[in-house]
């Protein structure tokens, strides 16, 4: 079972991201379970959503406490929330930013985790460019596909287009595709650096 935790703020599509991710996995014939952190958080408040992906039926209803991947939609949360709680050393981290980890002041992370599992993606910029609104969730899913290979970019594309109809779906899918490319390149760069 692969468990994902997505951090963001109310209004940034955090819950939708988990839902679309589960749909993408479902589209590929896998079992998936997406759910929000339950609460009554308002726009702007820190929120979390979860997604589990597995090849067999998912029965558990406990929250994701030991994620395999953490997606951070909003870097301003870094000093406010324990974003990496429960993340295994080989866990993945995808951060929505155009800056480096050092610039963000979280260079220490490299020491705790596999550095090739820690990548950034300028998802907000991509969203602004393609969709015209700063909603990074779709683009980040493209990055997630590239980073974790848990789902294909094709499945992400399907899930996005199912959630957002017409032009909006198309533009979000384009943002995801570009994010996918960027992260794939980052990954290659990282791999190269590692090797």
């Amino acid at each position: 079972m692969f468990q994902v935790r997505i951090h963001g703020r109310g209004g940034q599509g955090v819950v939708t991201a988990a839902e679309m991710l589960s749909v993408a996995a479902f589209a590929e014939g896998r079992h998936a379970q997406a759910f929000p952190s339950f609460g009554s958080e308002r726009t702007g408040a820190p929120v979390v959503s979860y997604c589990r992906i597995d090849d067999r039926e998912i029965r558990t209803r406990e929250p994701v406490m030991v994620p395999d991947c953490v997606i951070i939609q909003d870097v301003t949360l870094i000093n406010q929330v324990d974003l990496f709680s429960g993340l295994a050393p080989d866990g993945y981290v995808l951060v929505n930013t155009s800056r480096s980890f050092d610039e963000l002041g979280i260079g220490d992370l490299f020491n705790q985790f596999h550095h090739d599992h820690l990548l950034t993606c300028p998802a907000t910029e991509l969203a602004l460019e393609h969709v015209g609104r700063p909603l990074p969730n779709a683009a980040l899913l493209g990055g997630f596909a590239a980073l974790t290979h848990q789902v294909t970019i094709g499945a992400i594309d399907t899930a996005i287009r199912e959630r957002f109809l017409g032009v909006v779906g198309e533009r979000n899918a384009a943002a995801a595709a570009e994010a996918y490319k960027i992260v794939m390149q980052e990954e290659e760069t990282a791999d190269a650096a590692t090797n």
């Binding site: 589960s22 339950f38 609460g39 998912i58 929250p63």
Partner: protein, 421 residues
């Protein structure tokens, strides 16, 4: 068709397939997504003919459903928690009048302190109201139970409440095999009321009944619920025949055949329990699970049959009767009366507290050792409780407990800092 879909949406779409004619809605978390979705379907014309009524309270919601049902329409509503309590009087009334209303209860705790998260206090608060109460383990079952609920309700002229865990199910997106219209139509005949408000054939519905007949009226209601114990498996079987899917029934079992310890629970926590049980099984423990689907009517015989071979029964439930203990455990203790089975009551997950697999594994290990107490509160922070009790002893005006505890939970850091300095 199998779809990756939010639980609320699955229920809403399934309810729509049942062709409800009057739907009343008053929003309360976590029921909102269900009635929102039904509302959209009615407004768009996708669900027609149907009257969607935005009422001003849950009390009105159930009341509108009562009027609609008495006038011969298939009526549906959904609520949670405080909403259920606010409509309580009407909940009893609907049952007393024998109106086959179907209601989704997105289970949630009851305040104060106000708490929007899941537990079963709401369902337990109305267990004596005369409604049939069915608990769903998964969103698939939640959806399926609604179709069966309408049929059961209308066959017996008894209202049915489908309970599904708030947020945990209602807000979870997972795979649900959705029924199609022709399947539901074939399974669920149009509503044929037993009594109806008809100007051409007038009757007075809702008479005042005195001591001379009230007991008989109540006893008849009881008999109808006992009838439901027969009808529920029959309807589940018919459903399986129509859909190829096993859903509903009085109860479900998991690895109980040779089990010495059987865990009994209601609703979605059964999934996590099954995961924990699998792990305990791998450790060699003979443990199984029984999920109660029909909490009212309570299937005494079926429960007894399945549990009587076990040495120990551990009831895990998300509600308790303050000053007494577990509610489901009480029912089970009656069902097990005269057997050698030991009953252990565990109260867990109140107000949305996570019931984790690890905690359950630990609990089952304790049970296996025979060390589980008669009544246990899972993951209870005894330190917090003790400190609040001390504060209450110290001063009469110790302030509200909820706020004190929240302050207390943040306190260790301060205490730690103090100790450091």
């Amino acid at each position: 068709m199998l779809r990756q879909i939010e639980g609320s949406r699955a229920v809403a779409e399934t309810v729509a397939l049942c062709r409800p004619e009057v739907v009343c809605a008053y929003p309360i978390s976590p029921q909102t997504h269900i009635i929102e979705a039904v509302g959209v379907m009615v407004k768009s014309g996708e669900l027609a003919p149907c009257e969607f009524i935005n009422v001003e309270s849950e009390f009105a919601a159930m009341s509108v459903a009562i009027g609609a049902s008495a006038a011969g329409a298939r009526a549906y509503t959904a609520t949670s928690s405080q909403g259920l309590l606010f409509m309580m009087e009407a909940v009893y009334n609907a049952a007393g009048l024998g109106l086959p209303i179907v209601m989704t209860l997105a289970n949630r705790a009851i305040g104060a302190p106000i708490n929007i998260w899941n537990d079963h206090s709401d369902a337990m608060a109305v267990r004596d109201a005369g409604w049939i109460q069915l608990f769903a383990e998964t969103n698939q079952e939640a959806a399926d139970l609604h179709v069966q609920a309408f049929r059961l309700a209308e066959e017996l002229s008894v209202p049915v409440m489908v309970c599904m865990d708030g947020f945990i199910l209602t807000h979870a997106v997972e795979g649900v095999d959705m029924l199609d219209q022709s399947t539901v139509d074939a399974f669920l005949p149009p509503y044929e009321p037993r009594q109806v408000l008809d100007p051409d054939s007038p009757v007075s519905i809702g008479a005042m009944v005195g001591p001379e007949a009230f007991e008989e009226v109540r006893y008849l209601a009881h008999l109808r619920q006992l009838d439901a114990l027969d009808r529920i498996p029959v309807i589940a079987a018919a459903f399986e025949e129509a859909t190829g899917r096993r859903s509903g029934g009085l109860l479900s079992t998991y690895r109980t055949d040779d089990a010495e310890t059987i865990v009994v629970a209601l609703g979605s926590v059964l999934g996590t329990i099954k995961d924990a049980v699998d792990i305990r099984r791998e450790a060699g423990e003979r443990i199984g699970v029984v999920g109660i689907t029909s909490f009212r009517p309570f299937p005494f015989q079926a429960v007894r049959d399945v549990l009587c071979g076990a040495r120990q029964v551990v009831v895990i439930e998300k509600a308790f009767s303050i000053g007494f203990g577990g509610v489901l455990a009480t029912d089970l203790s009656l069902a097990l009366h005269g057997t050698d089975c030991t009953l252990r009551s565990v109260v867990a997950g109140l107000g949305g507290r996570s019931i984790t697999r690890l905690a359950l594994e630990d609990l089952f290990a304790t049970a296996a050792r025979g060390q589980l107490e008669a009544l246990t509160f899972l993951d209870l922070d005894h330190g917090v409780v003790e400190r609040e009790r001390e504060r209450m002893m110290a001063t009469r005006r110790s302030g509200p407990s909820a706020e004190n505890i929240l302050r207390d939970l943040k306190a260790p850091r301060r205490v730690g800092a103090k100790e450091k300095s």
